[in-house]
Symmetry: C2
DNA sequence: CGCCGTCTTGAAGATTCTCAACACCAGTGG
DNA sequence: CCACTGGTGTTGAGAATCTTCAAGACGGCG
């Protein structure tokens, strides 16, 4: 069976000029491709495995005591899951598939070995991980200081840019399998208010969120409304 | 002139059993101690210097287009400033002193050299940086899904725990130089609402925030109210 | 067909914000 | 010495935003 790691390649090659076969080291024969469900993901990570998403979306989240859920981030093809958890033992949040998901499973030891064989690859991966932290900072700002309209617009613009950077979207549209409930849990809003907000964005002629697809009806105006700056997603090569 | 790096030592030794002189390598003769103002901090970081806070608090923040400010985090003694910025070129936020601050300035090259001489130290520092990311996730959850009362309680509990871990606070109280405005900008609330919330916490007999000092009047009840779990601050040793 | 998850809309209510006013204090200059 | 100023903290009242509760529509799937 063959599978594509286009997304991963695109993502990492934005950071360093890695030959394709070096990236392929991450996906060795010992790695397994599987259609992941929630059980497989959490089981795998607690067994010291990381995952690379090949197809589909996964959400990382944390449940609160009162039943509320905060989605920390959506993870798209090319993203790593569980990197920090297995390398650094810090965990405390869970993963759930947002759509049908194909992942590549990597045992911790294989990951460490690969990083030792290719420090360039290791640097690229850590570099990508650091971008994820920048994304989280932006989410913090988004939730802390923007109202529902600009917050939603900003988030959907970010997801669009991330999809585009791995070749899965255009400036016009991208597939977004998240439900309105999940979007609400990511943005710290109720699903009902997300619904009203999406309607407003649609009525303003800016963006259509429908049938698992986001269409930018007026990208320029949308970027202006959300004050979206792609900078934090589109970083230069690392210095070290 | 002598100065203390107790806080840094306590922080790093929680992650690895580092001898004191190895930690001292970070603070070489070439490093300078200075009372930092905003100008010095931002200038230093754009000149490829990192800082270690020896005394006082610093806030990292981002200004939005409409003038709103989101404080990303407060940084306390023992914390690094600008690590990611100078090593990985990702920046986009600014720093401002919250109190009088003494820092130790480290040139990028010295930092890289030190890390090569002591991989254990490098691991400990990156480990500490990864804890910072866990803190940010917790802030995201806090802002996204908790109301003003539990959000404020949780945040002040976290700051107290962090201060205690570097020997600057007890289970009863700690110095907190942040103003109510700054606290509001950190929590995504207006300063006025912070004021009312603090009053409520005081009237409930849980916590007193006054004269630059936080006193836990009823720590157990406070922890219960905020569902505070110290786990994310108190990690085990890294695996790698 | 009936059921479940998702989407949609209305109305009432809660939380939080904005505006406005005032107290307090430290510093500053007359 | 005192008035003035700017930063911080405090309180009230009205307004905006967002949530909750409730109900119904729609489609996929057993």
């Amino acid at each position: 069976m063959t599978f594509s790691f286009d997304a991963l390649e695109k993502k990492l090659s934005a950071f360093a000029d890695l030959p394709r076969d070096e990236i392929g080291m991450l996906i060795s024969e010992r790695a397994r491709v599987l259609l992941a469900d929630e059980e497989e993901l959490s089981q795998g990570i607690s067994d010291h495995h990381a995952f690379i998403i090949l197809e589909g979306w996964v959400a990382s989240f944390k449940l609160l005591e009162d039943g509320a859920r905060q989605i920390i981030d959506f993870h798209i093809p090319g993203d790593f899951l569980g990197l920090r958890t297995i390398l650094l033992r810090t965990s405390d949040h869970s993963f759930v598939p947002v759509s049908d998901v194909t992942v590549c499973r990597i045992a911790k030891q294989d990951l460490v070995d690969t990083f030792q064989k290719s420090p360039r690859l290791a640097a690229a991966v850590f570099w990508a991980a650091s971008r994820d932290e920048a994304i989280m900072v932006e989410h913090l700002i988004n939730i802390g200081r923007r109202d529902a309209l600009t917050r939603t617009a900003h988030y959907l613009l970010e997801l669009g840019a991330r999809m585009r950077l791995v070749g899965l979207g255009t400036f016009k549209e991208y597939d977004c399998p998240a439900t309105q409930y999940q979007l609400g849990d990511a943005l710290g809003l109720s699903a009902i208010h997300i619904n009203r907000t999406l309607r407003k964005l649609r009525e303003m002629g800016l963006l259509t969120f429908q049938d698992g697809r986001v269409v930018f009806d007026d990208l320029d105006e949308l970027i202006k409304l959300a004050n979206f700056d792609i900078g934090y997603l589109d970083q230069l090569e690392p210095i070290i």
